[in-house]
Amino acid sequence: MKTAAGLLLTAIMLFPVYWMINVSFTRDTDMRHDPPYLFPVHGTLEGYRAVVHQQLPYLGTSLLIGLGTVALTLAISAPAGYSLAKLRPRGGGTLAFVLLMAQMIPGIIMAMGFYAIYLRLGVLNTAPGLVLADSTIAVPFGVLIFTAFMAGIPPELTAAATVDGAGTFRTFWSVVLPVSRNAIVTVSLFAFLWAWSDFVFATTLDGGGARQPITLGIYHYIGNNNQQWNAIMATAVIASVPATLLLVLAQRYVAAGVTAGAVKD
């Protein structure tokens, strides 16, 4: 009984997602049929063919920018997390507070500041510029996750490394990082997803670029050919793949990263 109610609620909640998939398979001629077909009766792949022909470069750019953002985010946030969790710097609490507040700043305001700076530096419409901007969404989150996770690593482990003569950096690199795999995966997944989904920075900082991410690909589609909704929705379906993968993987890794006590004892 409760399962039936749960199924019904989930069906209502996910109806827009179903509709996106349905429309992506609908023929152009059926698009304005009244009433709309609830299933893709005359299913077609023309939407997906359009994606393959027109959107592949956008998808490639998004992949590249996502991976770049992950690399940059990890390089900055993992050492910071180690320091805050294990080395106890004076003023660490203040820094954690600043990171919390940084997450509250609206993206659109960051975008305006970046635009003014990038224009002077001449890095508007470049992939590295977009990677840098996208990483600002993930770095504060990354530092906080790494700090929480590494605080749960038993002190005996790092103490043993010190006794064996390892310096602070060796301890970080050879002992702390390898056992922090779950935190690394969690931060990477979210950094990638946020960079992949970003629209605000893309439209302000890369609006005239030669290489644009998939979010702009969809946005141009909506603006240009308002009729080809199967192609728009097919692109949307493909743009949702990383989120779906994340949901499958996150079940394990997010829980593992959030339950930071996994390494205890």
């Binding site: 409760k2 827009p16 429309v23 900055i76 509250m104 909506i222 949307a236």
Partner: protein
């Protein structure tokens, strides 16, 4: 879940070191922090400073590129407040945020209580509820645009089937704000569900049993036991939701561009339109609106941290 991590990170970073700090240890600690400190200065503080500078000078397109714009004090802020768009945008920001929060929270709470009953498939279904939260905003926004399309949208087809007059969801000034709010509620429900659910898990089950033994009905148990115990988690959920909703830009811009005739314009979309939406960009006023939005977000952000500190054991 998210706030658990933040709390724990805060505790770890703020905990005083028991062992005496050695000078060399401090050097190493700040060595590892150097990248993030430089990063914050260069890519957070500096853009924010540039934004503040933009709002205090009189910029033209020429001086924006070449520099040398004259200082103009609070002129941009005065111009923004006197602009006929200011009060409608302010009102829409409040309505958008308030109505979204009320519905997201209520529905999220109801679903959390429902899923806390642990029936068959409840874990899978709860995971599926996360989908709207994980989708790129442009995907959700364009899907809702088509769902709410006046002529061919499935929502209007449903209304027609029920004998109700169809509505021009996105093209009529009286419905545009409602439409973007509906889409935003849909996107925000999963976050509320997840956080409130994790809060419910922390309430000991025997409290409910005791209340049942005393003859409390399900409804009474919720209002007298669950709801009061969930108050700290609720406060944090609402405040975080508030900060996130204030800065919503993508959904509104993609669905309506703030129109028709400013009827769904908020501070976020107005600020973007002033700076990037016209042929002749008005960077100064755009930055001024953005800074007003930051002040609003930071006030609530500080409130969030206060509440969190107080509710921490």
């Amino acid at each position: 879940m998210a706030h658990d991590v933040l709390t724990r990170a805060g505790v770890a970073a703020a905990a005083p070191a028991r062992a005496p700090r050695r000078r060399s240890g401090q050097w190493a600690a700040w060595g590892f922090l150097a990248p993030v400190v430089i990063y914050l200065a260069a890519f957070y503080a500096y853009p924010l400073y540039r934004n503040l500078d933009l709002s205090l000078r009189h910029y033209t397109v020429r001086s924006f590129v070449q520099g040398g714009a004259p200082f103009s004090g609070l002129d941009n802020y005065r111009a923004v407040v006197d602009n006929p768009t200011f009060w409608p945008a302010f009102l829409h920001t409040i309505v958008f945020t308030g109505v979204s929060l009320i519905f997201q929270f209520t529905i999220g709470m109801a679903l959390a209580v429902f899923f806390a009953q642990n029936f068959r498939l409840s874990v899978v279904l709860r995971a599926l509820f996360l989908v709207p939260w994980l989708l790129p905003l442009i995907v959700s926004a364009s899907t809702w645009s088509w769902l709410l399309n006046s002529d061919s949208g499935v929502v209007n087809a449903l209304l027609r089937a029920l004998g109700i007059d169809p509505v021009n969801w996105l093209t009529s000034p009286s419905w545009a704000l409602t439409s973007v709010i509906i889409a935003n509620i849909w996107i925000g429900i999963p976050f509320n569900l997840v956080v409130l659910y994790s809060g419910l898990q922390a309430i000991p089950a025997d409290l409910h049993e005791a209340a049942s033994l005393d003859g409390a009905t399900g409804w009474q148990r919720f209002w007298r036991v669950t709801f009061p115990l969930l108050r700290p988690v609720s406060a944090i959920t609402l405040l975080l939701g508030l900060v996130y909703t204030l800065k919503v830009f993508d959904i509104i811009w993609i669905m309506t561009k703030g129109g028709p005739t400013d009827s769904s314009t908020t501070f976020a979309t107005w600020s973007y339109r002033l700076s990037f939406g016209n042929l002749l960009p008005q960077f100064g006023p755009g930055a001024a609106v953005g800074n007003l939005l930051i002040v609003m977000a930071l006030v609530f952000g500080l409130l969030y941290i206060r509440v969190q500190r107080r509710t921490m054991p």
